[in-house]
Structure formats: C-alpha cells, structure tokens
C-alpha cells in the first residue's frame, strides 16, 4: 500500500520537474527584427489625408479607419466610419476580428501620427496584414481638408485642383449648405457625423463573478 503511493509520488514529482526545464510558454509568432526595421523605414505605410478623404467620399468598402485615441476623445469627434480601438487595447482578443479582417485596409489615426504609428508597429509585429497610418493624423486632416486655403493664382494647376478637391471634401463633411460660400476660413464646426460606434460581436471570453 505504502509502496504504491511512494511510486505515485515519485512519478508526480518527475512530471512536475519536467516543467522546470520547459520554457514558460511558446512565444507568439513574431516577425524578425530586421524585417521589422525595414518595414519601419518604409514610408509606404503612410497614407495622406487627401487619399483617406477621397476614399471616405468614394465610400470605399475596403477602407477601415481605426481611431487609436481614448474613447472620450473618440466620442467628441471621430472620422466618418471609424471605429475606436484605444492603443492600449489593441491586443485584446475581442478586437482581433476587426484587425485581421481580410480584404480591408486598416488605417490607423490619432491626433498626430505618433500614436497611430505606434499602433502600426504593434500590429506589424504580430503580423497583421494591410495596415496603414494616416500621415499627420487628425490635426493634419483638419489643416488640409477643413481649413484648406486658396493657393496663389500663379500656383501650379495641380495645387489648384487639389484645392478644389479639398473644398469639395469640406463641403461633403460639413454638409452641402455652403456650396458657394467660398473660402470662409472659419472652422465651420467639426461635422458631427456620427461615427459608427465599434460593434464587435462580443464573444464571451471572460466571465464575471467567478464562483
């Protein structure tokens, strides 16, 4: 009787000591540092505010704007069609579906492009495909689109075209009422087009209450 228990105890200890020699956990898949460095150097991840605007207006179905600012800031103002994933929640499993959805260009933005770039790096390291950063962030977007100023009459024609595009975009975002109001500089009130609240199908991963 006692001998059997001794043998079992020894087996148990051997099983446990096996864990001593194993690493804590198999590491998640990461891309190697060289690749990451090369990717960081590559400016192709940046999308200009004009490109983003064009795609919003064109209702591009492949565009997915992701706001990495805090939920409070997001509630105050957000770009049309954006969803809010604060940067500290990027790796929460519930957002995994949003980030990995195939066939969509995920464009991060924040107030400037610093936080968005950080988000981009986090996602790049976990090998999320098709991710971009909106160059300059919301500030740049306001400056270029919402407060666009008329170029000199002698400016190259591309600039004039760009100006007209931005003007049209501004009217698109602020509502069509000011079609001919020219270049009123005033910030005509950030359009409060309701940005879609993030609606991820909640998978019940965590349970409350425990016992």
């Amino acid at each position: 009787m006692d001998r059997r228990y001794t043998i079992l105890a020894i087996l148990l200890i051997i099983a446990a000591s096996g864990l001593l020699f194993l690493p804590d956990r198999s590491k998640p898949k990461e891309i190697n540092p060289q690749e990451l460095l090369a990717a960081i150097d590559d400016p192709a991840r940046f999308i200009s505010t004009d490109q983003v605007t064009e795609r919003i207006i064109g209702a591009d179905p492949a565009l997915q704007l992701i706001d990495v600012r805090s939920p409070e800031e997001f509630r105050k103002f957000a770009m049309q069609g954006a969803i809010n994933i604060p940067i500290d929640s990027l790796l929460i499993p519930q957002f995994k579906d949003v980030l990995t959805q195939a066939g969509k260009d995920k464009v991060f933005y924040s107030s400037s492009d610093l936080a968005a770039d950080e988000a981009w790096q986090i996602c790049r390291r976990t090998s999320v495909p098709r991710i971009y950063v909106m160059k300059g962030g919301l500030n740049e977007w306001f400056n270029t689109i919402m407060k666009c100023s008329e170029p000199n009459a002698t400016a190259p024609s591309q600039d004039i075209d760009l100006y007209h595009f931005r003007l049209a975009a501004r009217q698109y975002f602020t509502g069509g009422s000011q079609l001919n109001s020219g270049q009123r500089e005033g910030n005509s009130g950030a359009s409060d087009k309701k940005a879609e609240e993030v609606k991820v199908v909640k998978k019940e991963t965590k349970t409350g209450g425990g016992c």
Partner: protein, 175 residues
C-alpha cells in the same frame, strides 16, 4: 467491496478522486476557459428572486445592478447550469453507492437541532464571505490554484487557516 458499497460507506480513493476532479477541472478550462464554481449559482438565485420581487430595487442596487441585464434572465448563467449538473452528478453517485437517504448528520454528542442551527449560521457566514471574496472554495480557491491565480492562493489559505483554528473552537459539534 460489494458489501461495502451496499452499506453506503464506499468512497473512492482520495487520490484517485483528486485526479478525476483535476481532470474535470482541466477539461472545464479547456472547453470553456473558466473554472468550476458553486456560490455564483447561489448568487444568481438570490438575484433572480430579488429581481422577481422588485425589479426596480434590483436594478437600483449597487450590487444586484451588476448582474441584472434587460436582455437576459438572471438565472441564465453558466454557473447555474453547472450546478444543475453538480446536483445530478452527486445524485447519481449517491444512487450508485447507495447513499441516498434523508437525514441530519451530526455528532452523537449534539442534537439535530443544534446541528441545524450551526449549519444555518455557517451557511450565512459562507454566503457573506463568498460574495466578499468573489468566490468560494471551488470557484476561487480550487479553480484559482489550477491557473496559478494569486487570489486563489490567498483565499485558499485564508479559508483553511481560519477553519483549522475555528474547528477546534467548535470541536464539540464534530467529535
């Protein structure tokens, strides 16, 4: 062994029982990502009862308010289903090992009445304690230990440490 079985005193070898229990617990984590529990179901029952008596009161209360949602009945929780399973499983085991019997189990030195009074007061304390610690021996301590949760170890030590001291205080009730 057969005669033992018929008198209702056959129990599994504790180590074998422990391994079975451990495997059940491991499978619970593997399938559902959470541990086993018990007091959560009791909490759901209370929430449901209060909710049925006065929905407004339940919604306003800081505590019930956390568990009352409009789209789901308070009894529709995982732990309630699990406890239904526990009752069924224990009944089967009692049937199998011939232990089904209505009785009050107590030390020969005390009366049934005294045993019941102590049982109800113990139950009240356990109810309060389990809500405070957010789990009982199964939910917090056992499941917590299996996933190395700090809360599990703290709760386990607090329960068994205190119970060890107080068992001697109430020694007369038991032996």
């Amino acid at each position: 062994m057969n005669s033992k079985k018929n008198t209702g005193t056959f129990y599994l070898n504790p180590y074998l029982g422990g391994v079975f229990l451990g495997l059940v617990l491991m499978m619970t984590f593997y399938f559902t990502g959470r541990g086993l529990g018990a007091s959560g179901a009791a909490k759901s029952t209370v929430v449901a009862a209060v909710n049925a008596v006065s929905h407004e009161h339940a919604e306003k209360s800081h505590y019930y308010g956390k568990f009352v949602t409009d789209d789901q009945h308070p009894m529709n929780t995982w732990l309630v289903f699990e406890v239904v399973g526990v009752l069924a499983g224990a009944f089967l085991s009692g049937l199998f090992f011939n232990r089904l019997k209505l009785k009050v189990e107590h030390s020969p030195k005390i009366t049934s009445r005294r045993r019941l009074i102590f049982a109800v007061s113990g139950g009240i304390l356990f109810g309060i304690g389990s809500q405070l610690a957010k789990g009982c021996t199964s939910g917090a301590a056992l499941s917590g230990m299996a996933v190395l949760s700090l809360a599990g170890f703290i709760t386990m030590m607090a329960i068994f440490g205190t119970a060890f001291i107080f068992a001697w205080v109430f020694k007369k009730n038991w032996i």
